[in-house]
Symmetry: C2
Subunit: 399 residues, 2 copies
Amino acid sequence: MVKSEPDYSTAAAQNAHLSRQRPYPLAGLLVIDLTHVLSGPTCTRMLADGGARVIHVERKGSGDDTRSMGPYLTDGSSEYFRIANAGKESIALDFKDAADFDLLKRMIARADIVVENFRPGVMKRLGLDPEELVKQNPRLIVASISGFGQYGPMSQQAAYDTIVQAISGIMDATGASDGPATRVGTSVSDIVAGMLGYAAITTALYAREKTGKGTTVDVAMLDATMSLMSQDLMTSLGLNQVPHRIGNRHPYMYPFDTFACQDQPLAICCGNDHLWSLLVNALNHPEWQDDVQMKTNDLRVANWQLVKAHLESVLQTKPAAVWEQLLTSAGVPNGVVMNIDDTRRLPQVVARGMVKTLPDGNKVMGNPLKYGTWNSYGLQTDAPKYNENENQIRTEFKE
Amino acid sequence: MVKSEPDYSTAAAQNAHLSRQRPYPLAGLLVIDLTHVLSGPTCTRMLADGGARVIHVERKGSGDDTRSMGPYLTDGSSEYFRIANAGKESIALDFKDAADFDLLKRMIARADIVVENFRPGVMKRLGLDPEELVKQNPRLIVASISGFGQYGPMSQQAAYDTIVQAISGIMDATGASDGPATRVGTSVSDIVAGMLGYAAITTALYAREKTGKGTTVDVAMLDATMSLMSQDLMTSLGLNQVPHRIGNRHPYMYPFDTFACQDQPLAICCGNDHLWSLLVNALNHPEWQDDVQMKTNDLRVANWQLVKAHLESVLQTKPAAVWEQLLTSAGVPNGVVMNIDDTRRLPQVVARGMVKTLPDGNKVMGNPLKYGTWNSYGLQTDAPKYNENENQIRTEFKE
């Protein structure tokens, strides 16, 4: 079956919430983007979505590492680079070349924000110590995103997303209770660190407007991923117990889990007896409501495997989409376990502009930060070709 | 084995980065917190970490839903409520009582920020339409966090974290290729929506300082979770292919995976031939370097099951902690798959203040946003008892 391709442009154009003409909240800000790969570029992409001007400084020669990482489009360009760097400008500089380094220093002197994600200490070795940069330009915000942070015993250790996921506890928390620890199937440690880098920068921007003072910013992938673990921390810090992964179900409510249908699984969430009664009636098994093994939430939690078997005996007779319609009409909270290739086609996703078409015809992720007053569509320009904006930038920032 | 309990207080006190005396970046801001459960309280907790004053308005009678959700401490109070609401004040109001509602309106009239996470439409029915509130007080920022957003065909659907994880594609992306779709083992959709709510509010605060204008903010759990899916979106948008989950390994590099040791698994990430040679030498199997089935990255990716079996045949002879030391000395990027109960005891986590002790003796998550200029320790007061600050707030905001 060929899936229909939504017209993301028309949907966005018709939606007042997504007007491209509205002023941007970060208009007028200049960002010097020294980042590479994913965590840093995620942060600067959010700045571009807010309307800041982002100049991505790439390493002369090969450019950002992701330019030579797949997947690749038919023209040979990297989709990885594109999706992380849309809306930015590009200049390639050789930091060891005196003229290039002076240009970079002049760019930083006129900037509001510098973002970098080198290993801690590299900026200092390059002659760009963040604390020194802020001393030289007291209104500057210099944000560093790293694996473990700018200080502490692990600060120099290599940090890939998979390593930080391992150390943070999120892998150990994910998966079936009788199965292995499971990596979250996306680079959540990189991306959340980029998001919190953005949050710290905007906080610092507000404080700068109030006080005139800039600052360094230090955001770590490990700190960011730990911030996602508040629920298991309750068990560890509050009860002094070791939490254990329990698959897809809720520890204290049932049915609150995913269930096999004829095709895809379906998530069903019934946190009380009223929703349970709506569910069993929708499945045409009203007698389950008074079953001595299932009639209260406590019983259903204790006998969850039995409850799951009962529900799946019915659910497996029809596709998930059929049950979704039926249960939604009945008022039972549910959602199909979808592949992102289906998610991105949902009318809700289209209406929210969470995918958008750029002038080059390629599609990218939309802006999740939506405002009544400010531009919520986000960046509107294509990812730059390597060194695409060199001439203009060299002229603009000449001595 | 009894694990040692780190002294979080001393570590923080000794660290200049975590000085509790530094000024807060959000000092002087008043937040009226109408949120409940997790996504909204995560956002307002971050505002409290930034030094804003947060008044958590609870429903008269039962209070925030999490007050009656486990886990519970020995005094019967909810650890769930505590960890999500430390640093805030509490007043219980009956929105249907005219005097209470007038008090609330006076509080909002003096506020900088209102945050709510009711289902879309509820604020309007309560007489608190966000757009109206901003019209009445043009500098006000009113942030709404919801499952699917304030508009669109799904906006009225029930959204629990598990349902949003299902629909967003993140469950489908997580787990072994031959196993089931797997829920991320923490409420990642709730928490990331809270984080992006905070990011949107601080963006709006900056824009308000520049322009004098407030705004509504509309952040959705589905949009937020989709924002984590940029890698699978590359496959879907760029290649027009359906991505498939592949367990813990990297699609294009090997060994870049988790490996069974004698006890816990260990993540090992070797993205090039140099790191591979360091690894095989550290494992005392230099002959694997020239093995015709493993000598290049492409071969190792194609034969990953064989490579994994070879590596695990050695790794399973000793505990993960032993290999961690040995491989780290050898320069091989690695990390033990840890339970959060071990993560929180890491010297790095202690040094970063990512757990801290409050005056009541309880411990909470630290602040992941660290600044050179501003307070990075975060909130310093206990979670409020139900209605704890009523008298003071009624006096302060009387007619």
